[in-house]
């Protein structure tokens, strides 16, 4: 099964011809050198899923990454859910494919939107995202930056129920609370209960409302002008297809002589990876095969930088009484000074003491000389 994605290799073909060798300096191998290091280190990606219970979030995640992250899960009944607050649960899984290692972290948000009163039910989620930014900010400003762990959330899949007529108030409020902190990708969940017409109407409606309420969902970057037509066409289709209407499945069924992931109904079989049945393939290709790196970049370059700028502004306004009007280095009070910093601090203290002693000695000597 091949997803039709264009990736014409731009690696120059090295011919053994000696005239080729003459012109060839060799730094065209730079991208390979860069990637060799990255491949060795491996990649990481943090994906958050949010939406009410029963929207098929876990199933979709399992279908996307062909894993089974939710094996021993106990589903709560309604009573147990009444007093449940929104939790943040992380699952981490290491996936390797063709020598490339990915450390995938799924941040789950059980309890979201499940209570009777859902006021500010997104607060634990925004707090979590901010905490990750803060952690990264501290690490980045610290002394020992060798092994910074990047736990920032790169993407948030938000599941919109298919049963309504568009966005509900909680959907709007949630997305507005998060759109400047994380890349939001809205999805229409359980799309197999809608006909193609209904899906189209719902998508149009949702797109309208996203515009109307000024929600900034993740935008796909523009195509380069030098991309081939095929890619541009695919890209256009992708953009017109949002929000993606998805279906997930943990089960394998037999359809058209093949074993596929799907859902078996009396009236037919829904195939998860069939593009005419749902947008799962588009979502997967976009998320993993073409835009994973861009999602991370936008998180680092836009969302994190916004957070950082805000943080510094707040600190600067507090320090406005000091005469340090130049952009001060944010000296964040280290919560747990690590061993290295402790050592450095000790060293400096000792040095200061020694210098002080020397000064005292010198002063004494001068004093004696005078007498």
């Amino acid at each position: 099964m091949t997803a039709n994605i264009r990736y014409k290799s731009r690696i120059p073909v090295k011919t053994e011809d000696s005239t080729e060798e003459k012109q060839y300096v060799g730094f065209a191998t730079l991208p390979n050198q860069v990637h060799r290091k990255s491949v060795k280190k491996g990649f990481d990606f943090t994906l958050m899923v949010a939406g009410e219970s029963g929207m098929g979030k876990s199933t979709l995640v399992n279908s996307l990454f062909l894993t089974d992250l939710y094996k021993d899960r106990k589903l709560l009944n309604a009573e147990e859910r009444i007093n449940q607050t929104v939790e943040i649960i992380k699952h981490t899984v290491d996936i390797e494919e063709k020598g490339v290692k990915l450390k995938l972290t799924i941040v789950d948000t059980p309890g979201f939107g499940d209570a009777v009163n859902n006021n500010e039910c997104w607060k634990p989620i925004t707090d979590y995202i901010d905490q990750q930014f803060e952690q990264y900010f501290r690490d980045e400003s610290g002394l020992n930056r060798k092994n910074i762990q990047d736990n920032r959330v790169h993407c948030c899949l938000y599941f919109i129920p298919p049963f309504g007529h568009g966005l509900r108030p909680v959907d709007v409020e949630f997305m507005k609370a998060l759109h400047e902190k994380v890349n939001i990708i809205p999805l229409i969940a359980k799309a197999d209960c809608l006909t193609p017409n209904e899906i189209k109407k719902l998508k149009d409606r949702i797109r309208e409302e996203i515009d109307k309420f000024g929600i900034k969902v993740y935008q796909f970057p523009e195509c380069d002008s030098d991309e081939d037509e095929e890619f541009k066409q695919l890209d256009k289709e992708l953009k017109e297809c949002t929000p993606f209407a998805v279906i997930g499945s943990n089960t394998v069924v037999e359809a058209r002589g093949q074993r596929v992931r799907g859902r078996l109904y009396p009236w037919g079989i829904v195939e998860v990876e069939n593009q005419s049945h749902c947008d799962f393939v588009k979502l997967r290709n976009m998320l993993i095969r073409s835009h994973m790196h861009d999602l991370k970049d936008v998180t680092c370059d836009v969302h994190y930088e916004n957070y950082r700028a805000q943080c510094i502004q707040e600190m600067t306004s507090k320090l406005a009484q000091d005469n340090r009007m130049e952009s001060p280095i944010p000296i964040l009070p280290l919560s747990t000074p690590d061993v290295e910093t402790e050592k450095l601090i000790k060293m400096k203290d000792e040095e200061l003491k020694r210098m002080q002693e020397m000064l005292n000695k010198m002063q004494q000597q001068m004093h004696e000389k005078d007498q």
């Binding site: 099964m1 997803a3 994605i5 990736y7 731009r10 120059p12 003459k22 300096v25 060799g26 730094f27 065209a28 191998t29 730079l30 991208p31 050198q33 860069v34 990637h35 290091k37 990255s38 929207m55 098929g56 979030k57 876990s58 996307l64 062909l66 894993t67 089974d68 939710y70 589903l75 899984v93 996936i95 390797e96 494919e97 063709k98 490339v100 059980p110 060798k146 380069d224 997930g248 943990n250 089960t251 394998v252 074993r259 990876e273 997967r284 993993i288 095969r289 073409s290 835009h291 994973m292 790196h293 861009d294 930088e305 950082r308 700028a309 510094i312 340090r324 952009s327 280095i329 944010p330």
Partner: protein
């Protein structure tokens, strides 16, 4: 949270079984596209006294006229009293990869009668680039891609005396090997025979070891066994004895870069004649990215840590504070 039928008991394990291709390996291609778009920079400094063929070697390495050869001092031109720092940038392209190459030349180094402290302007320049980068990093609104003017590699040219390192060589490398990647090369090595070259190299290596000079690739930064074995081979072959040339001659029906003498043609890219090809492969084809990474992750971080510890904050560098560098 699905509540359809089967409680997830029949799912495939984590990986590539049935219908199992997720497509994670394509992230490499995504990264490649991105880096090709943004392009690369590389800053190389050349140090050594006049006439050792520095510019010629750089031009030979990058197969373009990126460094202007000095024709020696014109009679009415004064020899500069101090070491000058001259940076020249070019954008060169190969195989769709664009590289902004900056050559930092240091005319005047080692040319005076009294060469005391002639390494100071160089050290100052290197630290100024670190300072520039640091200032950008702590800014409130940061550029997406901070312009990188830090010196990634310093080629130090050793005079092919055949005896040993000069005092100036040792002093320079001792002081600067902790703030920049130094790659020593034996210049104009076509003045030595094969045996003389081997002996000289060994003596030079011993002297470097005796003086505790860690040239690139430094042993302490080898990541893993694979790196260590690759780098060990390179360290044993260093310093590379090179010859540079931008003139072409016909040898055995091929056009080669070389130097023509009455007794034969020295072929620059012939591994039997000199080690230019080895240097080039090492510098450009395999360790270019690593040079940048060691500069960024180690030398720059050392500088940064030191600055952060001083006075608990950032103050602009002024000459009086330029103490123990």
């Amino acid at each position: 949270m699905s509540s359809h039928g089967h409680g997830g008991s029949q799912s495939s394990g984590g990986g590539s079984t049935l219908l199992g291709y997720i497509g994670i390996d394509t992230i490499i291609e995504q990264m490649r596209k991105k880096t090709m778009k943004t392009g690369f920079d590389f800053n190389i400094m050349v140090v050594g006294h006049s006439g050792l063929g520095k510019s010629t070697l750089v031009n030979t390495l990058f197969k373009s006229q990126v460094s202007r050869k000095s024709a020696g001092w014109a009679r009415d031109e004064k020899i500069p009293k101090t070491v000058d720092i001259k940076s020249v940038s070019h954008v060169i392209e190969e195989g769709g990869v664009k590289m902004k190459l900056t050559i930092v030349d240091t005319p005047g180094f080692g040319d005076q009668i009294n060469n005391d402290n002639c390494w100071e302007p160089i050290s100052k320049h290197i630290n100024e680039q670190y300072e520039k980068f640091l200032k950008e990093e702590v800014n409130i609104t940061r550029k997406k891609r901070i312009p990188d003017t830090r010196v990634h590699c310093c080629l130090y040219f050793i005079s092919p005396t055949g005896h040993s390192l000069r005092q100036l060589d040792v002093e320079f490398m001792k002081r600067l090997s902790h703030s920049v990647n130094i790659i020593p090369v034996i210049a104009k090595s076509d003045t030595m025979t094969v045996e003389e070259k081997q002996e000289f190299k060994q003596r030079v290596r011993k002297e470097l070891e005796m003086n505790g000079i860690e040239f690139y690739p430094q042993k302490e930064f080898d990541d893993d066994m694979e790196d260590k074995s690759d780098n060990d081979k390179i360290r044993e072959a260093m310093p590379f004895a090179v010859v540079g040339s931008d003139k072409e001659y016909q040898v055995n029906g091929k056009r080669v870069l070389g130097r023509k003498t009455a007794w034969g043609i020295v072929e620059v890219e012939n591994p039997n004649h000199c080690e230019f090809a080895q240097l080039r492969d090492f510098l450009i084809r395999s360790h270019l990215q690593d040079l940048k990474e060691v500069t960024h992750n180690i030398h720059y971080e050392t500088y940064r840590a030191r600055r952060l510890n001083e006075n608990g904050g950032l103050h602009p560098i002024c000459d009086t504070q330029d103490s123990n560098l």
